[in-house]
Amino acid sequence: MGKHRVFGALLASMVLVACGGGEEASGPVDEAGDDGVRITVNPDPFPSTYTPLESSTLVIRGAIILDGAGGQIEGGMVLVEAGRISAVGMDLDLPDDDSLIDIDASGKWVTPGIIDNHSHLGVYPSPAVSAHGDGNEISGPVTAEVWAEHGIWPQDPGFTRALAGGVTSMQILPGSANLFGGRGVTLKNVPGRTMQSMKFPGAPYTLKMACGENPKRVYGYGGGRFPGGAPYSRMGNVAGYRAAWAEAVEYQRRLDTYAEEGGDPPARNLELETLAGVLSGDILVHMHCYRADEMAVILDMAKDFGYSVASFHHAVESYKIADLLAEAGACSAMWADWWGFKMEAYDGVRENISMVHAAGACAIVHSDSDIGIQRLNQEAAKALSDGLRAGLNITKAEAWQWLSLNPARSLGIDGETGSLTPGKQADLVIWSGDPFSSYTRAERVFIDGALVYDRNDPARQPVTDFELGQPGEGDAK
């Protein structure tokens, strides 16, 4: 894209893009004529300021390596240079580098860092005080205009606990009260003073949507009003999505017309900008949906409006339609064993994740919990062992995809992280042993090649502002 110029207060965050020519426009736009100059929207008004911590060239040897893409190497080596994986294999040639850090990880396991694609850390932080409940803009069923990143409190101690659990990246989502809950954001799990300093560079925005019981309960029955507003039923849910998509299609049409013909640009509409971003493929849809039959309806709706669902979330009944999900290329982000807390979670089975994987669909282990995010490896282990007992033949190496490559794919960051593939960011974990064990802990966690957590070194264990001077400061977590 070309260079930006911000126009006065009226167009506060709108920018000029000179199409084709690469030259900046000067002076006010001639609205009548088509000089090729267009007012466009800055797609990145809160840009990432993330910079990796300092890192050295690093070799980790002797460990059992799960590469996150389904492969396993016994006693291999992982070489990290300039914050990126440079090689993985046996007997690698090491660079001639005086600052090389050589880690003997014999008896330990190395994996890509865990990526949780469903977290509310920061927007529903600890402590769970009302003043910090910033994860749900419940004021209306369609709030595609809100962004989770504007509710994130970087001092949430939950981030540090997730780090100790080997989580290197995560998607922070708005809650599921609304049909359209707003934009999600993908973060690197590094401590920061600002949200921007945690933001995963280049990660696409996402849009949170929700099926089923939550929207109709919150709005139809909301606040003790009876009846409340729409939606009041699953019919109302789908009507609400479709009405919004129809508006977005119209908005996109006006944007296209403006791009082609000039004239007056359509008035900015933050809600429709997000929805139009989905239709153009720039924003990925993550949809809270439990019931199989509802997911099938959503897939048809998405097809009708010309977008795709990156991932269904919770997806407690994905095992019933894993074939449809595989065909549609939609991921399912699931718990190992949560069930029964509401009607749409009643048919939960322990083999869900394994059954989705075995059907050739994209399976993801997610947390939706500040406790669960600390041991997603164990959740994968439970799902794997139940699948194995039910006769599904899945290896630990394959199962690690549920924790890294598949969530990376759902977030559109699989080109950068999610597996120990040369060229990717060196987000990885050294585990004290087999990470499919209750007794194993993440010992060292690296993000972009930098050591961000070390279980044996208090100097490498972040303590949030909130915990300073409190009884829990620096204690074992």
């Binding site: 095992y319 074939d323 807390f341 509401k342 600390q374 062992s385 209750s438 204690d475």
Partner: protein
């Protein structure tokens, strides 16, 4: 073996060995038996069950008793049945559907008189879901509905059979701390004032009620129900988390009323571990809790359990999230406690022997000769997330290992459109 593990009073094994020839005998062979007794873990063990009681744990090298039904543990583990020391199992079918949820009542005039046992459905789907993962006994508590007193909890087995409640009236459950403050009208002082007044009412029942027909805090039936606990004759389970709250609970329990108290939650209990140990007040902790989830949990640490046990506090483990459906996760909790410094023996005790002790469950929680034969066979270390129960016995009876969940799984396994539509597919 931990010094914490009490010796359960056992009926002499000899009396069972002398049982008549028609006795039902089960021999579980070829296992690693964790006994929950001073014998510790017995390798290559055979566990003998006669007429619903454990009679012996012995070497598998010895010949089996005549007529014994043999169960091969295939080198896995054999343990006492797991006891979940706190849950709402069987009180709820679907949490969010009020009609199926009997945990709490916001509009009732009653408090201590509420008996959770009245709402227990042994056929609830959560019961077999817990059972097939090795949980054989459950301690079930009501939930507070706008009163510091939630009511009284019970102890049951997970057979799902009628009569599976062993003790309808096992303990009084009440909330202090932030939850209690909210339930009492808005502050900790309000909760404590209510508790003191209630104790006074109950301890002077029925005399006070003859004169006035009402108490300061409790109605007639609530005061009557609180009577035994108010005199130290029944356990009071108190939910409290902050160290300052725990200190006040200890002071109350060890004061002139000599109450019989156990703590639930206790995130900051490690900060007052010596007091709790000295007062012999047991604590039921959730080993997953390591976040300052509230201002009364600022000291939460994954080492809470380890520090309490090291200080000699009677410590049991519970999984306190999703308490209506996930009592089974207490095993994962115990495994994680081991990763945070608790010995494997103490962790297993915290979900068997110790809950039995706290809730006065006689003859369960161990493989002591004479113990009720709640026995679980595992295909590996029971505290490992990759392990599973392969056989579950409750009072010597082999249990079905099927649930609604396994039936759903079987229906959709393979997911092929060939054959009858799914609704016609049933494995039995």
């Amino acid at each position: 073996m931990s010094a914490l593990i009490p010796r359960i009073v056992a009926v002499l094994a000899a009396s069972y060995l002398a049982a008549d020839a028609a006795a039902q005998t089960i021999a579980i062979t070829n296992g690693k038996a964790w006994t929950g007794t001073a014998r510790g873990t017995v390798e290559n063990a055979t566990v003998i069950i006669v007429d619903g009681r454990v009679t012996e744990v012995r070497s598998s090298a010895r010949p089996l008793p005549p007529n014994a039904e043999r169960i091969d543990a295939e080198g896995g583990w054999i343990t006492p049945g797991i006891i979940s020391p706190f849950s709402r199992t069987g009180l709820v079918e679907v949490d969010a559907e009020d009609a199926t949820n009997d945990t709490r009542a916001g509009d009732t005039p009653y408090s201590v008189a509420l008996k959770a046992a009245d709402g227990f459905n042994p056929e609830a789907t959560s019961v077999p879901v817990s059972r097939i993962e090795g949980v054989t006994r459950i301690v079930v508590a009501p939930q507070s509905g706008g009163n510091i007193f939630a009511g009284r909890g019970f102890v049951a087995d997970t057979t799902g059979a009628p009569g599976s409640i062993q003790n309808e009236d096992a303990f009084v459950y009440l909330t202090l701390g932030e939850a209690g403050a909210g339930n009492a009208g808005g502050s900790r002082p309000a909760a404590w004032a209510k508790l003191r007044a209630a104790l006074s009412d109950a301890r002077t029942f029925p005399a006070r009620y003859l004169a006035h027909n009402e108490g300061d805090a409790l109605s007639r039936v609530d005061a009557q129900a609180f009577g035994p606990a108010s005199r130290g004759q029944q356990l009071i389970l108190v939910e409290a988390r902050r160290a300052s709250d725990l200190r006040r609970v200890v002071a109350l329990a060890t004061g002139p009323m000599e109450l019989n108290v156990a703590i639930l939650g206790g995130d900051e209990a490690w900060m007052v571990a010596d007091l709790l140990a000295e007062a012999k007040i047991p604590v039921i902790v959730d080993p997953f809790q390591n976040l300052p989830a509230s201002f009364e949990q600022l000291g939460a640490t994954s080492e809470n359990a380890q520090r309490l046990i090291a200080a000699g506090v009677i410590t049991a483990f519970a999984h306190l999230d999703f308490d209506a459906h996930q009592a089974r996760l207490v095993l994962q909790s115990a495994g994680n406690a081991v990763a945070s410094g608790v010995s494997h023996d103490d962790a297993l005790a915290a979900i068997t022997v110790v809950p039995a002790l706290i809730f006065g469950m006689e003859d369960v929680g161990t493989l002591e000769p004479g113990a009720i034969a709640d026995v679980v066979v595992w295909d590996g270390d029971p505290l490992e997330v990759m392990s599973a129960a392969t056989h579950v016995f409750i009072a010597g009876q082999p249990q079905e290992m099927e649930t609604r969940q396994t039936r759903l799984r079987d229906r959709y396994m393979g997911l092929t459109d060939e054959g009858a539509p799914f609704a016609y597919r049933r494995s039995q």
